[in-house]
Amino acid sequence: MFKILEKVVLSPSVNLMKIEAPRVAGKARAGQFLILRVSECGERIPLTVADCDPERGTVTIVFLEVGKTTRLLGSLAAGDGILDVVGPLGNPTEIDSFGRVVCVGGGVGVACIYPICRAFKEAGNEVIGIVGARTKELLFWEDRLREAVNELLITTDDGSYVRQGFVTDVLREVAEREPPPDRVVAVGPLPMMRAVCGMTREFGLKTIVSLNPIMVDGIGMCGACRVTVGGRTRMACVEGPEFDGHEVDFAELAQRLRRYQDMEQESLARFLAECDGQC
């Protein structure tokens, strides 16, 4: 059992949890993820490590409640336990002194870019953070992010906070600045990463994306997470999760992500019926 030490509701359906997992906490680097299984009949799901505290032996995850497993996880409270937590998995983000780096986060991807921004800044880069949310109340970690970047730019789809638009609108303006960014990192929903890559390709900006395909084991054995990158089959769990976004076959990945959609919905419907709207 891995104990939940703290739970914070960041916005409707977005939760933060600090989990006691000393081995993972001692090792996790920006860009890596963990896999957890909530209970005996549960699935294994990958979640990005948003932060860790090696001294206290804790890792922080931020997740959106979408399906059964994330809702079940979201129904847990501080003091409860998670059956299995394994990690850190995947390769850490390539951190170097690139110069000017833009980190784009959408949705819960905001939590994923936080440690990446911090690591880039510590490595001496000028870091520009761009975060986007559907609406104001879905935004979180603005203060934390501001400390991890040199400049923070925010958009909301509905214009309820700062400015209306998509992260790509802001990114375009940043791309047109002089000097242009030396590297872009984008983490968020697949359509967002795809749109970011479409835009940065025009400017010839190297863009790294963190992919979120379906996974089971996370150690290179099931092949479920394979993606086509530059015409080659790669396993996101051991060779990724970050790849050159301009080489990723997003259309294929989007199709593969829908592979179990109807069964996932069945599972969720059963769960909601069982808990009678209580979770």
């Binding site: 497993t69 394994v86 089971v216 084991d217 099931c222 086509t228 051991v238 179990y260 069964m263 599972s267």
Partner: protein, 458 residues
């Protein structure tokens, strides 16, 4: 040995046969003529004293038979079920020259099951040596190594990356061929031997080999197996509806997807399944697909029946259950339908040419002899490579081709001081019994090393 009807079998995940009754076992054991020069023993990769244990069964001394097997093989209930006996001990059996060979595998299973049913005892252990050893992985080779080290008095910790121990016995081989209660019971014996099993630890990521050595483990055994699926490198291989056999079987065996929605992990099987490959994994995937409700299951193999690497019994069971073998057929490309999912697979017929480096006749595509197979689920079972992580993350650990760890075959010693390896991660995908044999060879060397007798790196 009684067997369940195929039509009944494909409705559940129970075994084909409940195994011998005591009377049946004694009768079969009495067929053994106790050769003066028992060739069966030469056919066993670990040199099990087969005539002696069979003689004990014939006398009704099942416990003594179990003890005899245990001298060389710690997992008889497993090996009796999954060893390719027809290519090992039973192939050498003198009786087999004129009649059916003595069913050595079934007798071994009988003894193994007998022992488990009685509540298998932990073997006698040497006094504590004060030394600690780490075993990475918990498949058959790792379990054998851990058990032998524990018996020799060393404190052993097994590190397993998944949430359940057993390796391929747990995630790979289906319930109907190897019930998980058998695997769990065997692992329970190890726990009683004070072997610590720590799951959810990915050595190479969660902790490195060097850190284990620094943490006070004086030796590390790597038995991480060959679980990384190979793909044919044909167009369309990443279409939705094309999956690896390891992924498919892991969902079903480890995650219990065959009990969805009671278990949360889904599995999609489709109605017209094509399995690529001809080994045990291919047969396991094909038979699992049938049990999940597939209407048609075809196994595509590019060579002929003679070269099929699967155990003969598995091929027989698969065909009996309705799996269709399409031999001398190689995949060319996977094609998706309008919905983007796999729709059909284009193939080419082959003929056999000269022997290749594996000693089997090479399949040669016949120009113009193409055919199309309609399918909504392709399961790729063309082999596995060693799990790549630990090799990549450990400095000083030399590998040969395809990520196989380089070792001294006499000891299992790798090129890195204090680190040993064995099983599929060294040889490439092979058998349970060979991995166990390698684990035991290494355990002897590790014992020697831990006691300061031999330093293999001097």
């Amino acid at each position: 040995m009684s067997r369940r009807e195929p039509a009944l079998r494909i409705k559940d995940f129970e075994e084909v046969s409940p195994g011998y009754t005591a009377e049946e076992a004694v009768a079969e054991a009495n067929r053994c003529i106790q050769c003066k020069e028992p060739h069966c023993r030469d056919g066993c990769p670990v040199g099990l004293d087969i005539p002696t244990f069979i003689g004990l069964i014939a006398e009704g001394r099942f416990e003594a038979a179990a003890a005899k097997i245990r001298e060389e093989n710690l997992l008889p209930a497993v090996c009796g079920r999954v060893c390719p006996q027809e290519a090992q001990c039973e192939q050498q059996c003198t009786m087999g020259k004129k009649y059916d060979p003595v069913a050595i595998g079934r007798l071994e299973r009988f003894v193994g099951d007998f022992e488990l049913a009685r509540g298998k005892e932990a073997p006698p252990m040497a006094p504590p040596s004060g030394r600690r050893a780490a075993v990475v992985g918990s498949g058959p080779g790792a379990l054998a190594c851990a058990a032998d080290l524990a018996r020799r008095g060393h404190a052993v910790t097994i590190f397993e990356s998944l949430h359940k121990p057993g390796g391929v016995l747990t995630f790979g081989i289906p319930e109907f061929r190897l019930p998980k209660r058998v695997v769990e019971a065997e692992i329970e014996v190890l726990r009683r031997m004070d072997v610590t099993i720590e799951c959810n630890v990915v050595v190479g990521r969660t902790v490195t080999v060097d850190e284990l050595l620094e943490e006070g483990f004086s030796a590390v055994y790597i038995g991480t197996g060959a679980g990384s699926p190979r793909f044919p490198n044909i167009p369309g291989q990443n279409l939705p509806g094309v999956q690896s056999a390891s992924g498919f079987l892991t969902r079903v065996n480890l995650m219990k997807a065959y009990r969805f929605p009671e278990y949360d992990t889904p599995v999609r099987v489709g109605s017209r399944v094509v399995v690529l490959g001809g080994g045990n994994v291919a047969m396991d995937a094909a038979r699992t697909a049938l049990r999940l409700g597939a209407e048609e299951v075809r196994v595509l193999y590019r060579r002929s029946r003679e070269e099929l690497p699967a155990r003969r019994e598995e091929i027989h069971h698969a065909e009996e259950e309705g799996v269709e073998l399409m031999l001398l057929t190689a995949p060319v490309c996977c094609i998706g339908g309008e919905d983007g999912r796999i729709n059909r697979i284009e193939c080419v017929c082959c003929e056999l040419g000269d022997l290749d480096e594996s000693g089997r006749r090479r399949p040669i595509p016949i120009p113009g002899a193409g055919l199309t197979v309609e399918t909504d689920n392709v399961i790729v079972a063309i082999g596995q490579s060693p799990n790549p992580l630990i090799q990549r993350m450990t400095a000083g650990l030399e590998t040969l081709g395809r990520g196989m760890i380089k070792v001294d075959p006499e000891t299992g010693a790798t090129t890195k001081r204090g680190v040993f390896a064995g099983g599929d991660v060294v040889t490439g995908a092979a058998t349970v019994i060979l991995a166990m044999g390698a684990g035991r060879v290494a355990a002897r060397a590790i014992d020697d090393y831990l006691r300061g007798g031999n330093d293999f790196w001097e």
